[in-house]
């Protein structure tokens, strides 16, 4: 498997060109090729959701697709969420305020899943948040503070419009 093929991905607005093996996972491309290691890998079989990124806007598990499959596409990762260095997005700030993370390992995937969810549903109920969250595993928090954080972010986002 030494064959390498060129890929071009736009990640958080920056274009990256690399030559990679066709079997290279997108998660490994992000973490180890372009060194955006904020995206975490929890299970490598698409269950835990820790590696969720946004591919052309849609939340996608980066451990379940190859980098070459994302050739030419636009990707958003946790590193691109904050409006500027030293600042937090509304969603990130809500996670801090509501204590929505402990070890923080699953957090990037949850932020990416929830950022897409809140764009789709700006006025979610608790039940809707829990359903949207149910594809992301967290072993530390028991989810309650994550749910609180997402509801808090939704409220703040509505109020800021």
């Amino acid at each position: 498997m030494t064959q390498r093929v060129p890929v071009t991905l736009t990640v958080n607005g920056t274009e990256f060109r690399r030559e990679v093996e066709p079997r290279l996972l997108l998660s490994d491309f992000l973490r180890h090729e372009i060194r955006l290691s904020g995206t975490h890998v929890g299970c490598e079989h698409g269950v835990c959701g820790a590696c969720t990124i946004r591919l052309e806007g849609a939340p996608v598990r980066s451990c379940l697709i190859f980098a070459v499959q994302a050739d030419g596409m636009s990707i958003a990762t946790v590193e691109g969420l904050a409006p500027a260095r030293g600042q937090l997005s509304v969603l990130q700030q809500a996670f801090q305020d509501a204590h929505g993370l402990q070890c923080g390992y699953c957090t990037p995937g949850i932020l990416m899943t929830m950022s897409a969810f809140l764009e789709e549903n700006p006025t979610p109920s608790e039940d809707e948040v829990r359903h949207a969250l149910s594809g992301n595993l967290c072993r530390c928090t028991g989810y309650q503070h994550i749910v609180d954080a997402v509801l808090l972010a939704a409220r703040r986002l509505r109020e800021s419009v």
């Binding site: 973490r31 929890g42 490598e44 993370l101 402990q102 070890c103 699953c106 829990r130 309650q144």
Partner: protein, 784 residues
Amino acid sequence: MMDAPRETRQIGRPLTRNEDPRLLTGRALFVDDVELPRMLHAAFLRSPHAHAEILSIDVSAVKARPGVVAVITAEDLGEYWQPGPLLVPPPPIAGMTFRQRCQVPLAKGVVRHLGEPIVMVVAESRYVAEDAVGDIVLEFATRPVLGDLEAAIVPGAPRVHEDLPDNIAAEVVQRKGDYAAARAGAAHIIRRRFWYDHGASMAMETRGIVADWDVKSDRLTVWDTTQAPVVIRNGLAAMLGLSERQVRVIAPFIGGGFGPKMMMFYPEEVLIPWIALRLERPVKWIEDRLEHFVATTHERGQLHDAELALDGNGRILGVRDEFLMDTGAYNPYGLTVPLNSQCTLLNCYDIPAYESRFRAVYTNRTLVTPYRGAGRQHGIFVMERLMDAAARELGLDRVEIRRRNLIPPDAFPYRNEIIYQDFAPLTYDSGNYGPILDAALDAIGHAGFATEKAKAKAEGRHLGLGVVCYVEGTGIGPYEGAKVRVQTSGKVTLATGIGTQGQGHFTAFAQVVAEQLGLDARDVEVTTGDTDQFDWGVGTFASRGAVVAGAATHGAAVEVRKKVLKAAAEHFECAEEDLVLDGGRVSIAGIPERHITLGALAQKANPLRGAVKPGTEPGLEATSYFGPEMGATAAGVHAMVIEVDAETLRPAILRYVVVHDCGTVLNPLILAGQIQGGVAQGIGNAFFEELTWSEDGQLLNASLADYLLPTALDVPRMELRHTVTPSPLNPLGTKGAGEGGAIPVGALYAQAIEDALDLPARGIEITEIPLSPSRLWEIVHGHD
């Protein structure tokens, strides 16, 4: 001098966490984020059998694969191949048997559990390393697999360790009072058999190690997902023949610990630094999830035969218990788990007589070491189930029988006499259990529940109530330390030797420092888990971080406060009593315009010219250590209302209440998170998670798609309440809170489900955990 804690109330504030911005923006360093030039990657060939003789290992094809740098078997390790070390020696208990057999770096001759490493491959990339593992050709002769505990102790059973006479790893008998006499005088004897299986901790981050031998500085740096970096540093230095100065172990941000990352030494922790040193190149190994299921330690099952002796009023006269515990293929963690079970079984009750015998049994399964709760839930399940059965036999309400037996508040310190995991006689330092029970009953709506249940029943719905008590031995020794320093910037640093895995140490410890030094907790920079910053200590386990390292932090901050006030008094030429320390500066009481900042004082305390008085220490810095004489005992009650679907037997939690007493609360926001997370793991243990093994020892559900962790739909919103009974054993009055949330949940599920389906009236009791809808169906319909 003004009373320090009154100037700035930092302790007890629900402060949001200092560490969160880094974690939320992808800027926190986890082990797999370490990238070094020339770094190699390791992968392991692991045993596909639970028990087998290795007949041959052929690695010739591996060596021919491009990109492979090294292939290592047990033979290649030479003198470095050593079992162990024994991490926790057994406490001195008279008459005990303890037969130590520790894990080895790479299997030699025999494999004793699934996932035991046999060959290490190091290559230019992880992909190549994993390809190369597939090139290895092994021949095995499989051996009988020991999995069932009772089968493993039958005389003549095949043995996990052939050099031992049988599969008994340990046998311990402990007694309090005279159980035989208690039994002879009892009006009621309740006797039951219980099975309690605890699963795998499944931290979202698997284990991982990066080791880098820097030739020119003659130093080894190791990034390790460990809960005990100092112990790893010391052990590695000894094993590798290096001085401790030459080894730096960093436990950076860790993606969840829960106990198994306290295990030492994992084979990979022994091997990766060794090969990095040999190759003089950095080497990384990151465990995958499949490996994690079989190569990272579990907790697993215990089989209890227990009896409760009571008088005619439902007062406990004594308890007798005998249990078998699965310890896995090796026992480096000694007796921590079974001793926790044995001791915690006594729970919050005044029990005059206790006789308990356990045998730890070797099996061909992954090693058992503590996982959140660490055997405590097994003991609590046995005791709480016995209490429920006793209540029925005596015609008492289950709450009433518990209330009658609570240790009264004037009986503390309460001595249970038997030896605990910290080697000290089990003593509850402080407690007031009645108000905890009252608060839980109030919060769950106990008074109105009978009506609620009857009303639901009329609608064809099945509601059940559960109320369960627990204690949690926390904050054990031996000790931890902390170093506090005021920087010339005015910010303060704190370093401690424990690692952190999400417990909020960067914030809670900052609050402890800020409380003494009168500054914003945001201005306290906390370092944990870096042996170059602080290298005395033991680790983060047994709900002890906040208690033991917290107390050491407090001690160091108190000392620095004294230095600050002394320096300021000299500066102002006034008495220390006239000074106020607040807002990052010291001022004269009543004259706030006369002030000096902490940073300026730190500058003055580290002069570059001139003379200082004899005996002067530079800077505003202090190091302090704290070692409690014994653990602090937290307590609580969980209550829930559950609805069980009579057709599918799927339960839904309608209300969940936790009332917890862990003494002084450092940060209620962080505490709430600890409790909620614990309950979630308890729910997983009670109803979702079960390691399922085949007859030949294969783990049948070794993926997160098959081993079900609770999701956001499975964990209910919880109502938390607290009572505060400070511990007299440490200056802050804290008790640990890391495990309490997880401990009583199995017993709670069993009781609430029995209640919802009125099982006891049908002669059915739930005596096992974990449950599932299908297992519940078997229990309810009489299939075993």
